[in-house]
Symmetry: C2
Subunit: 340 residues, 2 copies
């Protein structure tokens, strides 16, 4: 019998929803902080053995119903020819941002198997170590990767990115096409390595107007997803409400929503055949356990018995109290749908 | 005959939409930077004569169709008993954040005429100086003010705010009630001083789930707006899409939307009697002038001939090229609706 998450993503009956959560292997866990005290983030992402250890941490501690391979979205930018720096106390930085046609001409189209071997290898190791626990793969969405590539770092307003879209649309389309192809092949390599599903993170799509999202994000998500098959493909954007009516046009098999949308409304908009993942506010984990449990129950009831994967609406925060995480997971685990 | 903006906010026929924009008096203008080189931000906000000068700057330079009184949303927090610091290079800071019932007990209920005299006085001076130019008043919304009061500064996740809502709801309700009363009276004092309309800025409402917005923002906007009358009252939130179906429940006479919602859809949801303000992406002003003009025209056409006030979807950025602002305003000014 296949795992809970596979059944939920197939819309099949489940006794309760499966639960995993974004950034479940991360700084909020003591085990992770201890390892990071000895090893840099880049080293963790670049070593399949260490990445596999970190991937296992939340599985062992919380009995989440799926692992997600430990990595970052930015190795794809290294694969197309840009060096990334993670400086202490700052976010990631692209050393030479791409802001013109001539900058873009220096990007390369890599062979994904050669350029991005660590994540598939981590997935294979995890599957040997834990054959009973399903593991998810992931990648950044083309538009979100473009944001970092052009801006060069995290940003409040991403002015350089939008300036490129609107001043040099041909260059932007060229880079997005390249990113979409690499992302699609990368996700396929993770499915081939044994991922039971893959998630495409469009974290920064939410800076776009609906018109701009349809022009600059949607076609490249379609293009990336069109290059991979064999496992459910989940689309996530941190701001779901502005694009709610259009999210199923991505071609994704399931949609992961943030907390600024009612999950019952999302299900109604997406229709009965599209499973939904989400949608607890990550900051709710700072609330008292009873309040967390109430919110978990509310989401599960609103989502209904089929096609729901419980998750946060965005990554867990590094300062999250571990008791909050435990209350959330326990409440999901205690759920029992009547047999159907 | 009343001004363009008064007619637009009354849903009356206009030859073209009026235009003003959030933070139109600010750092992107050389005139403003020159004054700020000599005078601190707090000094500007605390002196009606200087505030009036700054309020006039975009009116004189761009012939915008309305001024908005130069101030900040945080003086209300000083009025209820908390000191604010604007340190160079940082955002505002509340010296003693309010995070418990005992912290809240030290807040005071001020007489608004005594505690907040500068903004009404600035409006009166502006009206003497420029009797032909309409001026708007404003205040922060109760929930947005609570965010700063509890967190103590700007924040990505506002953990302390949400922790208070969910751990000590009675305390949160108590503070929000106080803020709503002060905000309502403050807006009334601005209307009495001659503001043709007032806007309530709920900048941080967008961190809330729809359920939490209905619980923690909506009732206190209603309460504040219920205390003022005599001029149109506009509600603005930086994330409109998550709450779109509920925004008219605020009781506001007009709704100001961000750029992550289609203005035609917003008008359909709000109904024909609610004027809409917005909704150009502020970063669009970094695009080439032709692209800015295309976007301005698209918004004006989608909004339709009545009940639209042209604006950005959020405040203009300090690094905005002045040519972008000029292109936007000129395109609005060139619009001509056929007579109806």
């Amino acid at each position: 019998m296949s795992s809970l998450i596979e059944r939920a993503l197939a819309g099949q009956p489940v006794p309760r929803p499966p639960v995993w959560f974004m950034r479940q292997a991360g700084r909020y866990m003591k085990e992770y902080r201890e390892l990071r005290a000895k090893v840099s983030f880049l080293k963790l992402c670049g070593d399949a053995d260490l990445a596999c250890q970190v991937t296992l941490q939340p599985v062992e501690r919380f009995r989440v119903d799926a692992a997600i391979v430990f990595s970052d979205i930015l190795p794809v930018l290294e694969a197309i020819g840009r060096e990334i720096r993670f400086d202490k106390g700052h976010g990631p930085r692209v050393l030479e941002p791409v802001r013109s046609a001539s900058d873009a001409a220096s990007l390369r189209r890599p062979d994904v198997a050669d350029a991005l071997p660590v994540v598939p290898e981590t997935i294979r190791r995890f599957r040997s170590a834990r054959p009973q626990t399903p593991i998810l793969g992931f990648a950044g969405a083309p538009f979100t990767l473009l944001c970092y590539l052009v801006q060069g770092s995290g940003s409040r307003n991403w002015e350089h990115v939008k300036a490129l879209l609107w001043s040099e649309p041909t260059t932007a389309d060229h880079i997005l096409s390249l990113l979409a192809d690499v992302v699609g092949d990368y996700l396929q390599s993770q499915i081939d390595a044994g991922a039971v599903a893959v998630q495409i993170f469009d974290t920064w799509a939410g800076i776009l107007s609906p018109e701009d999202w349809r022009r600059w994000s949607l076609p490249y998500v379609q293009r990336a997803l069109g290059r991979c098959s064999g496992a459910p493909r989940i689309y996530y954007t941190k701001d779901s409400a502005p694009y709610l009516d259009h999210l199923t046009q991505t071609g994704a098999d399931a949609i992961s929503i943030d907390w600024r949308v009612d999950i019952a409304q999302a299900r109604q908009v997406f229709g009965p055949t599209i499973p939904v993942q989400g949608n607890l506010d990550p900051v709710a984990l700072f609330a008292p356990p009873d309040e967390i449990r109430r919110r978990v129950r509310r989401i599960i009831q609103a989502a209904g018995p089929r096609g729901h994967v419980f998750n946060l609406g965005h990554g867990v925060l590094p300062t999250t109290p571990i008791e909050g995480v435990e209350a959330m997971i326990d409440e999901v685990h205690q759920t029992r749908w009547p047999e159907t």
